[in-house]
């Protein structure tokens, strides 16, 4: 099943990522300083070991006695204790800082993602956002906590060691640095040219994997009914292996990176050898000094590797961070502000709308809904009713034309959230009292929900008690009652329940619209017949308008639909 038209949400620039991190760290500057200080102390304590080992050789050479040996071994132990203490605390602090930044960033991302206009989110698919909130957060949580400790510890060790080599003989330091630094610079440039796009592709492949998994899990009944387990499984696994292919390519880049670092190490070591050889031969230095320089240089390998590795981890984290921050900065998707309607609940004028250029779904449609008026929108499916309803409700913006006012919208896509009945209701009015919640349920006739085993605290949704379609829809209507908006748009809000419950649900819809203006998209015409006014649409235009009795007796599309509807129903 090809999927070439799925658009993804944007990626942030590196500058946007930086400003987002700064924002998340706001007020935490002292914490960063504290963590760096702890890690530096840890690195300093870690230097006790090489120092004591050097002193040990001296102590033996000069026969300073067993006491001195015990003292030096004690120094190594004490150094290890302090290094473990400070580095451990610094590591914990760094991880906590990263986790905090990550948590506040992912929260901002989900908040922004939920506030995206419908068109933008649905083009990209929920899988893209879910993957950014899951896979990408996991990638950062795994690598970022080690960046600060590695940089701090390694930088300190490298600096002290280079100074140590220079004190020994400046020619060792100059020669090694002149040869080694250009190789490192070249290596970093090479990495920067190759790594980012591979990490980016890997994360995009993860999003595709999440997208397919989520689609199959949500439509699992359909997958089973049509025996689609195999093709869907294959589709998921193809996406899964694509991630693996990218992961191996990313590792190839890391390997190439390390090979270049090894080259730098080899050049450094050989230059120390050659310089030592020359210094000793010319009588400018001793064999002991050459040995010490070599031991110092050996000790640089670890921290330098760590530093370079951090560069790679940073690129990897950045690829994920750009995806997370990209959603926060998706400003081009901000919905337009709407004016208040005058003496009406909503006023839409000369609306045009197209999902794709050249395919108008609404073509010059005007609709005014009076305060407390109930308008029914009828017509064949695909006539543009749902689009008009979404535009009036404010979840879609018209292509051209003006709309004043906005409303609560309940569609046939009912979703029962994972959580308690209370949580499902007070989403629209956080902190609502039990009485309010009971009243809202009672008003839409959802008495069966009130009788759930734990009342309002009964778990419902995917992991709790399964609601019948009719219960789920009355729950959706109860949310409207609780929200109490001046205008409610019910787009087939009572259709999915099947015909058996229709009478009760129609009653619930009427109750939910009581005392407010309503726009009702209805296929069940007996529901439409009770409305104050009926608007008939066909192919993106309004073709008929009036009260039921007039329309039913005229010779228009409504009359034809009505006669079909009443056939077989008494």
């Amino acid at each position: 099943m090809s999927d070439d038209t799925r658009e993804t949400l944007p990626l942030a620039t590196a500058a946007q990522v930086r400003s987002e991190v700064r924002l998340a760290l706001k007020g935490g500057t002292w914490k960063v300083v504290g963590v760096v200080a702890l890690l530096t102390l840890g690195a300093a304590a870690g230097l006790a070991t090489p120092w004591a080992l050097g002193a040990l050789v001296d102590a033996v050479a000069e026969s300073q006695g067993a006491e001195r040996i015990w003292l030096l071994a004690g120094a190594i132990a004490a150094g290890a204790l302090f290094a473990a203490l400070f580095s451990g605390m610094g590591q914990v602090g760094a991880t906590r800082l990263v986790e905090r930044v990550l948590a506040s960033t992912r929260e901002r991302m989900v908040a922004r993602g939920l506030a995206l206009p419908r068109a933008a989110l649905e083009r990209a698919g929920a899988g893209d956002l879910v993957s950014r909130a899951g896979d990408d957060v996991a990638v950062i949580a795994e690598s970022a906590p080690f960046v600060v400790p590695a940089v701090t510890g390694a930088a300190f060790t490298i600096a002290t060691t280079v100074v140590g080599i220079a004190v020994l003989d400046w020619r060792f330091a100059v020669c090694a640095l002149v040869l080694v630094i250009p190789v490192y610079v070249w290596t970093l440039r090479w990495h920067r040219r190759n790594a980012p796009q591979i990490y980016e592709a890997e994360r995009a492949a993860m999003a595709t994997r999440a997208h397919y998994l989520l689609a199959s899990l949500r439509g699992i009944e359909t997958v089973h009914a049509f025996g689609l387990s195999r093709p869907h499984g294959e589709r998921i696994l193809l996406a899964s292996w694509a991630v693996s292919i990218w992961a191996v390519r990313a590792r190839t880049i890391i390997n190439g990176f390390f090979a270049r670092i090894n080259l730098a190490e080899f050049l450094g070591m050989s230059s120390i050898l050659v310089v030592g050889f020359w210094l000793v031969r010319e009588g400018h230095g001793t064999v002991g000094a050459a040995t010490t320089a070599m031991l110092f240089f050996l000790r640089l390998f670890g921290p330098i590797n760590e530093m370079m590795f951090v560069v790679d981890e940073l690129q990897s984290s950045l690829a994920s961070m750009r995806r997370i921050v990209g959603v926060i900065h998706a400003n081009e998707y901000t919905a337009a502000e709407r004016p208040e309607p005058r003496e009406a609940a909503a006023d839409a004028e000369a609306i045009r709308f197209e999902y794709l250029p050249g395919h108008p779904v609404l073509d010059d449609v005007s609709l005014r809904i009076g305060a407390d008026e109930t308008v029914a929108l009828v017509g064949s499916s695909g006539a543009g009713k749902s689009t008009l309803a979404a535009i009036v409700a404010g979840v879609l913006d018209p292509g051209s034309g003006t709309v004043a006012g906005s409303a609560a919208l309940v569609t046939q896509e009912v979703h029962v959230f994972d959580g308690t009945l209370r949580e499902n209701l007070d989403l629209v009015k956080p902190g609502a009292s039990d009485e309010e919640l009971h009243a809202a349920l009672r008003r839409v006739g959802a008495d069966s929900l009130l009788g759930l085993p734990d009342g309002l605290d009964t778990g419902i949704g995917d992991r709790g008690t399964e609601l019948t379609p009719a219960q789920a829809q009355s729950l959706a209507l109860a949310r409207v009652v609780l929200l109490d908006p001046p205008l409610a748009v019910l787009d087939e809000a009572t259709s999915e329940a099947g015909s058996a419950d229709s009478a009760a649900l129609d009653h619930a819809a009427t109750a939910a619209l009581d005392g407010r203006a309503g726009l009702l998209v209805a296929h069940r015409l007996d529901q439409a017949a009770k409305a104050d006014r009926i608007v008939v649409m066909e192919k993106g235009r309004i073709v008929e308008e009036g009260v039921h009795d007039d329309l039913a007796n005229a010779d228009g599309p409504y009359a034809r639909a009505w006669s079909l509807w009443t056939r077989g129903r008494s």
Binding site: Q91, V130, L213, G233, L237, L298, L409, E413, E492
Partner: protein, 563 residues
């Protein structure tokens, strides 16, 4: 010139040894299976990584040799030879790491893919699950993050093996120089590994809590986004964001606790290996002082001791942390792999091609009270019933539940005789909420199997002509995730066309026209009979237009045979 890139992931997944799961598999056993599942990658990776570590430990040895033989003697030929030797050693350590780590990663990826296959197969298994399926977002998190973490267990052998080899090599050299020092290494390393396992306990528990909470948070995000239309329709975005924030804060607490445990663990392991080095230094120093070791030997020992700290540290911290994380994820992966199936029994009989008779005789369940129902070949039968009873009927006919008493037969044999997938190809029960999947209209209706004539006939019967006409790319128009680019009525008609295009011998439809207008509904009703031809149809609905075209209608609300 570009060198060929070796050892890339092939286009098709790499096969691994089977991973067997049953109801008694523990997280520990699963993790052990994972570690040994890819010997073809793990063995070369281990050998190469050992070579790498040996190469690394040879660097100080070669340098010491060079100082003795070249720097001290002033012989330029020996210097050149030593530099060449050093170059060869660097080539060895660099290339063995390059390919060793790649073999290791290929092993991890191969096993990871295998685990993900198992998880996906279980999630999609046609036998379903007993009870409720759980939150799709949580399953997603297990199938992605936890599978990734568990597969990392593959690296527990190769990398530590290299590090252990380096430690043992150093231990052997030390043993040659002084048996006391060798003993310290040989006794100290197992002790260190033991401490590592003990100290890892709290870390394992915290890792488990952390991955559970992280899974909950991404599950919450997925759930809220699935209800996006509800949230945006009611302007509840900020309340929904608060809900996620709460889950995210819980996950953060979990991570902060795990970070503390990780810090304590890393700190104590570093302390242990530091004390180990202090012990070595003490013994070596005292022995040298007594004249049992020369200064040269002491310098070698000091160099080796300094080197040994690296592999010792990573050996102690990495392997333990990976093991702890893998165990925690193994538990969550098992929570899916060990889900019980629904309880209906199945045989392996395959229904004969073509028509058949469906018979329900005195079927009783919680909501069905002694139902008798027959659908003869070619017949179209309407059923009126309550939503609850219709859901139970659908579960019975789709083979995912069995009646408390009574029999359900197809082609004269009980349902439980048949292979489930084969039965469902014969008796297609379309769910009331039929989901569309992203792809084109054609993909969705044909499911890549139906022939074009059947697709066209089905689209016509479900009155989809105007949908296709209005769609920008006709049949190739993408329907979007969940079919959300179509309106509700359009989705329902496309879903109906999909069911008709499969041309099953018996088609069970539940309220297939609730989202379409009366004109369209009556058009569909007129065409439905003709589209089904000589095949049988069971229509569970109250819609008069549909019931009017049925051969007969059974009202389960009124038939109470035992009263």
């Amino acid at each position: 010139m570009r060198l060929p890139v070796l050892l890339q992931a092939p286009a098709d997944p790499i096969p691994v040894r089977p991973i067997r799961i049953d109801s008694r598999t523990t997280p520990r056993r699963l993790t052990l299976q994972v570690m040994t599942a890819a010997p073809r990658q793990v063995v070369p990776a281990t050998l190469l990584l050992i070579m790498h570590q040996v190469g690394e430990s040879l660097v100080p040895v070669i340098m010491g040799f060079a100082i003795d033989q070249a720097v001290a003697t002033g012989d330029p030929v020996r210097l050149a030879l030593c530099v060449a030797l050093l170059g060869a050693d660097f080539a060895l350590l660099s290339y063995s790491y390059r390919f060793g780590s790649r073999f290791g990663l290929l092993g991890i990826e191969a096993v990871q893919h295998r685990l993900r296959t198992l998880v996906a197969d279980r999630l999609l298994d046609s036998k379903g699950v007993k009870g409720r399926a759980g939150l799709p977002g949580v399953s997603l998190s297990i199938a992605s993050s936890d599978v990734t973490n568990l597969a990392k267990a593959v690296s527990i052998v190769p990398w530590p093996a290299g590090e252990l080899a380096a430690v043992l090599l150093c231990g052997t050299i030390l043993m040659v120089l002084s048996w006391q020092l060798g003993l310290i290494v040989l006794l100290g390393v197992p002790l260190l590994l033991f401490i590592m396992d003990r100290a890892g306990g709290p870390l394992r528990r915290r890792s488990h809590d952390q991955s559970t909470l992280a899974g909950e948070a991404s599950g919450k995000a997925a759930d809220l986004l699935a209800g996006y239309r509800v949230i945006s329709g009611l302007g509840a975005q900020s309340a929904a964001a608060d809900r996620y924030r709460k889950a995210s804060r819980d996950a953060l607490d979990g991570s902060l606790h795990a970070a503390g445990a990780q810090g304590v663990y890393t700190g104590s392991m570093n302390l242990a290996s530091g004390l180990f080095v202090a012990g070595l230094a003490l013994v070596a120093g005292l022995r040298a002082l007594n004249g049992d070791l020369t200064i040269g030997q002491l310098i070698t020992i000091v160099g080796l001791t300094q080197f040994i700290m690296g592999p010792l540290g990573t050996l102690a911290t990495n392997a333990g942390a990976i093991w702890a994380g893998a165990l925690a994820s193994a538990e969550r992966v098992l929570s899916i792999l060990q889900l019980p199936h629904h309880e209906a029994r199945h045989g392996d009989a395959v229904p004969e091609a073509g028509d058949g008779q469906l018979s329900l005789a005195n079927v009783r369940t919680a909501g069905l009270d002694g139902v008798d129902l027959d659908v003869a070949p070619g017949e179209c039968v309407g059923v009126r019933t309550t939503p609850a009873a219709s859901a139970e009927l659908a579960a019975l006919l789709s083979g995912s539940a069995e009646p408390d008493s009574g029999t359900v037969t197809w082609q004269g044999r009980p349902f439980s005789d048949f292979d489930l997938d084969a039965l469902r190809r014969s008796v297609l029960v379309v769910p009331h909420h039929a989901a569309l999947f992203d792809g084109s209209i054609l993909d969705n209706v044909g499911l890549l199997t139906a022939d074009r004539a059947a697709i066209d006939a089905a689209l016509d019967a479900a009155d989809c002509a105007e949908i296709v006409e209005a769609a920008p790319d006709g049949l190739d128009t993408q329907v979007g995730e969940d079919g959300l680019r179509l309106s509700g009525g359009q989705r329902q008609r496309i879903a109906l066309a999909r069911a008709l295009a499969q041309e099953p011998p018996l088609l069970v439809l539940q309220d297939p026209t609730t989202a379409v207008d009366s004109v369209t509904e009556s058009r569909i009703a007129e065409r439905l009979r003709a589209a089904r031809g000589k095949r049988s149809t069971l229509l569970v609905t109250d819609a008069p237009a549909l019931l009017a075209v049925c051969d007969r209608v059974i009202d389960l609300n009124q038939v109470k045979p035992n009263e």
